[in-house]
């Protein structure tokens, strides 16, 4: 009889390669959730992940499923191209706020518009991490970045709320915003992600999970301070919750 059991271990949805994120960056936590969800739903073997351009550009190396690296912002189009010819596959895109909310907003909206059977993992850290901390469409008012050196002002725009906007698109099936700032929220986030993948598995259309994430390096904070800053500043402007669930009531 075994004396112990493993209650947490590295997911086999992750490859053996170490991720390249800065210490304490929550990109890593979100990767684990994607990997764990796919494994637990037994979808990993038929999954194709789409890396986008951002700090996660290299994550084709970090997941253990098939991967395709997409041009900046175009992951939902790449995903569409694949899903249409490989309808049995499970497709997720992994996109940052620069990638999805700025250069790639058209592709994201139109994947939702066409109700593509794909899942978008949207990682909102309110900054361009990879390129060294420029302002993104989700940078908060007052937030200092390398291209809003005195803090973002209204003249540079009011931050876009992606989950809310995507929820207005008729073709979108499921849209939720989650956070990974503590173990409880990590669990909730995973539930959301599994729900999204399950919807995709059942061919019920477009799903998007927005993750509130951190960028300790470009925010100039320790990882823990960054997590706290996200809770104190981002969540008030980007409230958590389900913004659209077109599967509700459907089961009857």
């Amino acid at each position: 009889m075994p004396k112990s059991k493993i209650v947490y271990e590295r997911s086999e949805g992750l490859s053996l390669m170490d991720n390249s994120y800065c210490p304490g960056c929550t990109h890593g936590i979100i990767h684990k959730l994607v990997a764990e969800s796919l494994v637990e739903l037994e979808l990993l073997e038929r999954t194709i992940g789409i890396s986008s351009v951002g700090c996660s550009a290299l994550n084709y190396d970090f997941f253990s499923c098939d991967m395709q690296q997409a041009p900046h912002g175009r992951a939902p189009a790449v995903a569409t191209g694949i899903k249409r010819v490989r309808p049995n596959s499970i497709i997720f895109t992994y996109q940052g706020d620069g990638d999805l909310a700025s250069i790639g907003i058209a592709e994201a909206i139109h994947a939702a518009h066409r109700s593509e059977n794909i899942t978008i993992v949207f990682v909102n850290n309110a900054i361009y991490g990879m390129t060294g901390g420029q302002m993104s469409p989700t940078t908060l008012l007052g937030q200092k970045t390398t291209t809003s050196p005195d803090g973002r002002t209204k003249a540079q725009g009011l931050p876009l709320r992606i989950a809310e906007m995507m929820a207005t698109i008729p073709g979108a099936t499921y849209v939720e915003r989650v956070s990974v700032h503590n173990p409880q929220h990590v669990a909730k986030a995973k539930k959301a992600l599994k729900k999204a993948f399950s919807i995709q598995k059942e061919n019920k259309g477009f799903t998007l999970i927005e993750f509130i994430s951190t960028c300790p390096v470009n925010w100039g904070m320790t990882p823990k301070d960054a997590v706290d800053w996200a809770v104190d500043n981002m969540i008030p402007y980007y409230p958590l919750g389900v913004f659209k669930d077109a599967t509700v009531g459907e089961e009857k």
Binding site: Y21, C55, V217
Partner: protein
């Protein structure tokens, strides 16, 4: 006639870029020609980084330094990479706090500086770069410590001004560590 080519290499975060820039700033102050050029390893984050600095009384052409006169080495991978390039009879400044038990070329001058340890002793591990720079200045005499400190004073203004003192001490400590 000054014509110094130095490569400074280490982990990202060890201040190797700043070291190189200080030399180029000092050169500019003295109306010398200079060129600083950074290079980052293939890893985006936490990888190695180095910069090449040329200081010369004549025009600086190639930014790439094939045969440096000196190399300042802050970690192990950098030693492996740059040691073979060092000019015969050149100077190798080694952060021996981190790079230990290594084989080094015998046709060059090696200076083992316990930069991290000295910096820790001074109270701020971050000035390890200034410690080794102090050693470099003492040996090569490319600039005086004062000339470099002058640059620091120009750059470290406001809240940062209070850092000048410890940097000065670090330069001195480096010199004394030769």
């Amino acid at each position: 006639m000054i014509n110094e080519k130095v490569i400074i290499a280490g982990f990202g975060g060890q201040g190797v870029m700043l070291m190189g820039q200080l030399l180029s700033y000092a050169a500019t102050d003295k109306d010398l020609n200079t060129l600083w050029f950074p290079s980052y390893g293939p890893e985006t984050r936490g990888g190695t980084a180095n910069c090449s600095v040329t200081i010369s009384e004549t025009t600086v052409n190639s930014p790439v330094i094939s045969t440096p006169d000196s190399i300042i080495i802050m970690n192990k991978p950098s030693l492996d990479k740059f040691q073979p390039k060092l000019k015969k009879g050149g100077h190798l400044f080694l952060n021996s706090s981190l790079v230990k038990d290594v084989v080094v070329r015998e046709d060059v001058n090696v200076y083992n500086i316990e930069a991290n340890d000295i910096a820790k002793r001074l109270g701020n591990i971050k000035v390890a770069n200034m410690v080794i720079l102090g050693a470099y200045l003492a040996v090569t005499k490319v600039f005086t410590e004062d000339e470099v400190l002058e640059i620091l004073k120009q750059k470290f203004t406001g809240a940062k001004a209070k850092l000048i003192d410890i940097n000065k001490k670090a330069l001195e400590a480096g010199r004394l560590a030769i």
